[in-house]
Amino acid sequence: MNLPSFRQSLSTLAIYSTLALAALVALGPTAWVMLSSFKTARQIFSGSGLLPSPFTLQGYVDAFAQVRLHEYLLNTLVYAAGGTLGALTVATLAAYPLARYRFAGRNTLVALISLALALPVVGLAVPEFFIMRALGLFDTKWGLIIFYSAQLFPLSFVILRSFLLSLPTDLEEAALIDGAGYFRIVLQIIVPLCRPALATAAVVAFVIIWNDFFFANLLTTSQENQNAQIALAGFRSQFRFNVTGALAGATLVMLVPIVVFLALQRQVIAGLTAGSTK
């Protein structure tokens, strides 16, 4: 064996060991919990064996029958889908004029929205609570949909506007000359053209709303309006009573964004790099 090729294979070994370690640390605890969701409570508490034996779906049955997880999951879906749709609609309508037309205050508005994207919004907790209550939106499903639309507006706006800025204007100008009205141009030319950016913003917004605990916890009190993240946090406190239900619930709640991500990796990755470097 000659020295260069020996060093080559040594560094390949080092690289793959690093990657394997990173993968293990990234997913190990989560994978272990997902596996444990198919164990019996007795096996979990005894801490014996990595694989479920015996295999049981009791945790999943409990999660639905006792905790009524499906109701929380449905709420989460309504918020994520409604908030995403709202944010994208409003962001498209705002991004188009702010990308294409010059008028007084335009740059200030764009700068303010971009700043709002960066600032840590948890700082605004108290006034958000106060405003939601003052508007009669506190602890209502519509209220949360509107709130999430507003929260995800800056991110969707930045993604859409930077995409629009990179597009040529020929099609719109041709349509203008043909006498098409403003909203027809938005609907028939801008929206179809922006499809990649819309997909990117939609996926990222959906996952962020799905995963929100802070504002869901702040802005709802009744069980019928709470999302699945709150249900999970509740599981934590009643851990000892139903550990398998908690693990099954966590598995289901995690699985949705994981599946969305794996199915739409390209959009998620594009969204992260667009939202962060622009």
Partner: protein, 288 residues
């Protein structure tokens, strides 16, 4: 550039966005700043000047929260970002299996704080947690309760996110993909090889990407809440409390003015971070 017939549709088109933005960002911000200088319980509103801030600065729990937030941020910046960069640089070489590794390493980033908290409350559990089992394999058998010992709780919390490398990895990979191949070819002609190639070409060109990751890391760490709230509620003995949680406690006890002062402090730190980190890494300027 705007024809007169376009004014109305443009205004109509901007209206919903401006209304939402004003209602949920501008007005709350104005309310936050005003109430920071007031005693406010939702009903009564009394201007009290700097009292909230004086009280905050005199409260040792505030300093503990600030110290912990700095600690969590330091873990983010000095552990998470460098490791993420390393993985990003490795995977950007498109070695065999890179897509699989990219997917696996990215997955934790899409898992919610609440679910992650549940995962780690199991992982750290003193009776049946995986961590103690793993340590036992290496001869450190113990029934240590990582989250309820004041000397280890902070590290246990940091451990939940220190190895979430996906975001940095993705940003670094995207940046490397935009580096022209000719640069590497030229450097190879000059005799550079392997890691030297990355040390002298990749790293300097990653300034923008690394700065972005550091900034985003800091901005999310300053608002760290979910994991700490669910795992420890800031305890034991406030050893894990963060600024966001400290503010939330004030809100829960009905002291909205005081809570707003803490919220303002969080936003102010965020603003200072944006300005200083952007400047430090000269964000927005192209490399060279």
């Amino acid at each position: 550039m705007i024809r007169s017939g376009m004014r109305l549709p443009i205004a109509l088109s901007l209206a919903p966005g401006v209304a939402l933005f004003a209602t949920f960002f501008v007005v709350p911000f104005a309310l936050l700043v005003t109430s920071s200088f007031s005693e406010w319980s939702g009903l009564e509103f009394r201007f009290t000047g700097l009292e909230n801030f004086q009280r905050m600065l005199a409260d040792f729990v505030f300093w503990r929260a600030a110290g912990n937030t700095v600690f969590y941020s330091a873990v983010g910046v000095f552990v998470q970002v460098p490791l993420g960069c390393l993985i990003g640089i490795i995977l950007a070489q498109k070695i065999r299996g890179w897509k699989v590794f990219r997917a696996i390493i990215f997955v934790p980033w899409v898992i919610s704080g609440a679910a992650f908290a549940l995962v780690f409350s199991m992982f750290y559990n003193p009776r049946f947690g995986l961590l103690n089992d793993i340590l036992a394999l290496f001869g450190f058998a113990s029934r240590h309760d990582w989250l309820f010992d004041t000397s280890t709780a902070r590290f246990a919390i940091a451990g939940t996110f220190a190895f979430v490398l996906g975001f940095t990895m993705i940003v670094v990979m995207a940046e490397i993909a935009s580096i022209p191949k000719e640069l590497y070819e030229a450097a190879e002609c000059d005799g550079a090889q392997g890691w030297r190639l990355h040390r002298y070409i990749t790293l300097p060109l990653l300034r923008n990407a690394i700065g972005t990751c550091v900034l985003i890391r800091l901005l999310s760490d300053i608002g760290l809440f979910d994991i700490v709230y669910i795992l420890t509620l800031g305890g034991p003995n406030d050893s894990t409390v963060t600024l966001a949680l400290y503010g939330y406690r004030a809100y829960l006890s009905g002291e909205w003015g005081f809570a707003s002062a803490i919220g303002s402090t969080i936003l102010l730190i965020g603003l200072v971070l944006i300005l200083s980190v952007s400047r430090l890494f000269r964000l927005g300027e192209r490399a060279q």
